[in-house]
Amino acid sequence: MKSLAVDIGGVRMKNPVVLASGTCGYGEVYTDFYAPADVGAIVTKGISLQPRTGNPTPRMAETPAGMLNSIGLENVGLAGFVREKLPWLMQRRATVVVNFFGETEGEYIELAEALSWHDGVVGLEMNVSCPNIREGGIEFGTDPVCLERLVAAVRGVCKKPLWVKLSPNVSDIAVLAKAAVAGGADALCLINTLRGMVIDIETGRPALGSGMGGLSGPAIRPVAVAMVYQAARSVDVPVVGMGGISSPEDAMQFFLAGAKAVQVGTGCFVDPLLPIKIIRHLSSGRSFFEDYPHL
């Protein structure tokens, strides 16, 4: 079998298929379907310094070919993650990339520094784009000056490969991609969810408890492919593509757009074996590595 190994900004993975943050818990969700070490990497639920209980329900509304969510970054917090979740992932030899976020630059720095000390953490993924929390990442991820400064500050203390997950809620993704790389990002991941709203016409109020949410699923895939295409042409670090991937063929579009790896999330809710199907597709017969030698 041909090797699918890739190096994404210093994170060495046995294949280019990654579980997206917020859609696989802390890696324990899909163990009935495959082992955590079978995928290229697992990006954990976003970690904050303190545990968070997240947003009020309803937290999800189904939309045409997609879903809107506002979980509100519920997570066990740094200490809880390190104590209760990380050892389990390490025992299973999973390649662990920890997604993290703060509400201030100081919190980002503190988290990146603390997570850098753990052998089981192979890389970090900075969330600068989750649209759910008013005081969370959105400001950092939409302003290039702010983004570059934040990434540079984190880069200064981070001893692990640093991925930056970009927000699609911007007018020119290339500008933000360049800003993140100028700040020191080792790789870029995109896209995060698109901001959206569903209004319940019975009540006249938003369907989600917190008003707006993040749209994911096949509905956003063309937007994601376009942004990956633009970002991959404006920076020289690896790009990890995601957004609505629901089949191996969907994943191929992202590789062709310039991604060196893909992340899958919402698609796994419908088909938990999706990442394995993509890996099999890549390793079987005439794969994209032969068909598209420029990749």
């Binding site: 696989c24 818990g25 309803p58 937290r59 189904e62 699923g217 919402t266 796994c268 419908v270 088909d271």
Partner: protein, 263 residues
Amino acid sequence: MKTIPVEVLKNQREAEGIYRLVLEPQKPLDRLDPGCFFMVRVSPGSDPLLRRPLGVFGVSAGGIELLYQVRGKGTRLLSKMRPGEETDIIGPLGRGWRRMDSARHILLLAGGVGMAPLHDLAVNLRDFGDQRPVTLVWGHRDKSTVCCLDKLHELDLDVLLVTEDGSMGLQGMVTDHLDEARARASGKPVQAAACGPMPMLKKAALFFSGLDISCQVSLEALMGCGMGACLTCVVPAKGGGHLRVCREGPVFYSQEIDWEALK
């Protein structure tokens, strides 16, 4: 849990908007405890995208029986499925009913299609030769959704039908008849199991906790994945934090839930 291809054997309209779906698994099932559920794919395409969580009504030689009410796009599509069609389901999912060993009489409280997991429980009790008396209070808005009474009689249940408009059985809500249900046990130690709308479950939980009677509740919730990943279906836990209906539930002891914090 695993993904199981299934063939539709029956998709029977049992009452107004209520269907009983019988699915033949094309792969052996994992152990199926009463009170579990499956995530059912309702469309081969991506709209609607998500699977629908459906509680098990029972398991027969023919297959898995699920009871559902048509409420939106997904369940409407499901109701159009014909025998011979194929789809797939993920499961069994969740933690089902806990044993009720200390009870001499069991009370079941059902609201509408909340009957499904309670029927599953009752079938399981009788299948294992459990002859303890069981009283079922089953509430409906009106008589149009009453169904499957023959199946309940087969299980030798003491059935109290309740309709809000009094068009069949007793008038009122399930929770208006809790004292009467309790009286059916004539003083013997009882335990309760309930499934239905949240306000009903909350009232039942408070009623039984006031009497120091153990009450389990099976919760219904909007779900994204059904496997514990998306955190859509959370309910507030007594003592803080959340419980995932799909993973820690759908069945809980009523005192595990913070009913005051629940909206």
